[in-house]
Amino acid sequence: MAHPFDIDELVQSLKTAASDVVQKDVTTLRGFSERQLQGMAKQAAWIAEATAKAEIDANLRDFFLNNLEDMARNFATTLRGLLAVTIEKVWNALVTTLWKAIEKAAGVALPVPI
């Protein structure tokens, strides 16, 4: 049996579906970013101190500097990858919510979105 299509109710459901995903993932992303930034800052400080005290030679210093640059780049691409996963989950949650709303309003079972 078909039901009236309540846009306000649908918008609220969509907001809930999206925020459920985002809130959980933001916690993970925040923790990851914090660890990474602390780690890279610690490594930069170590390179500076080890160079100043001549504990590493020029060859090792250059290796660690290039290594730190690589890690910074990898941090950015990892963050991009994690955001892509979050966007995917939000998108799929929204589509599922829309499907259910349409099914309820139309009173028919629709094929599950692939």
């Binding site: 649908l10 691409t77 979105p113």
Partner: protein, 172 residues
């Protein structure tokens, strides 16, 4: 159908209709990241455990005993390199929805634009391999003191955190 729709404003309805049309046109559910690979995650966990054991063992060693550690280094470097190749061989999604949004694969776009959805794992593991290789070579030629071990361990931990966090996030 219009009999069932309560008119709440043209903008809200237009936005909703647009979203539904895009969702329908895009094939609905979308995949923007590679699939979760349990064997890769298990391999990384095992390799990480072996690496931390190596860091613990070199902290109380000297250059003269490098021969006893060489095989351990080589096995570990080989393991991470194998995991890198495994990650590289994993298919990367190229969802149709990106073409609708104008950021999907397009023969007129430069190849680097296709890397938008590439997983970071292979490059991270390349950095891990480079770090461990340099550590092995330094251990062999001059030995590792406490300060050097700290530098290599810091570097390793940053990279392993990146790859483990990403790969575990793919389980969704």
């Amino acid at each position: 159908m219009t009999a069932f729709v309560r008119r709440r404003g043209d903008r809200a309805i237009a936005a909703m209709v647009t979203l539904v049309v895009v969702a329908l046109a895009s094939g609905c559910a979308v995949k923007l990241a590679p699939g979760y690979d349990r064997t890769l995650v298990d391999g990384l966990a095992e390799a990480n455990e072996n690496a931390m054991t190596l860091f613990a063992s070199v902290s109380s060693s000297s250059r003269e005993t490098f021969d006893r550690r060489e095989n351990t280094y080589n096995r570990l470097i080989g393991k991470f390199d194998a995991l890198r190749m495994q990650a590289q061989a994993r298919p990367t999604p190229r969802p149709f929805v990106l073409q609708i949004l104008g950021i999907g694969p397009d023969p007129t776009k430069a190849p680097k634009d296709l890397a938008l959805l590439d997983a970071p794992t292979p490059k991270i593991l390349r950095t891990v391999v480079d770090t461990l290789t340099k550590m092995r070579d330094t251990d062999k030629t001059q030995g590792l003191n406490e300060q050097l071990i700290l530098g290599f361990k810091n570097s390793y931990e940053i990279s392993i955190d990146q790859v483990l966090t990403y790969e575990k996030a793919l389980e969704r």
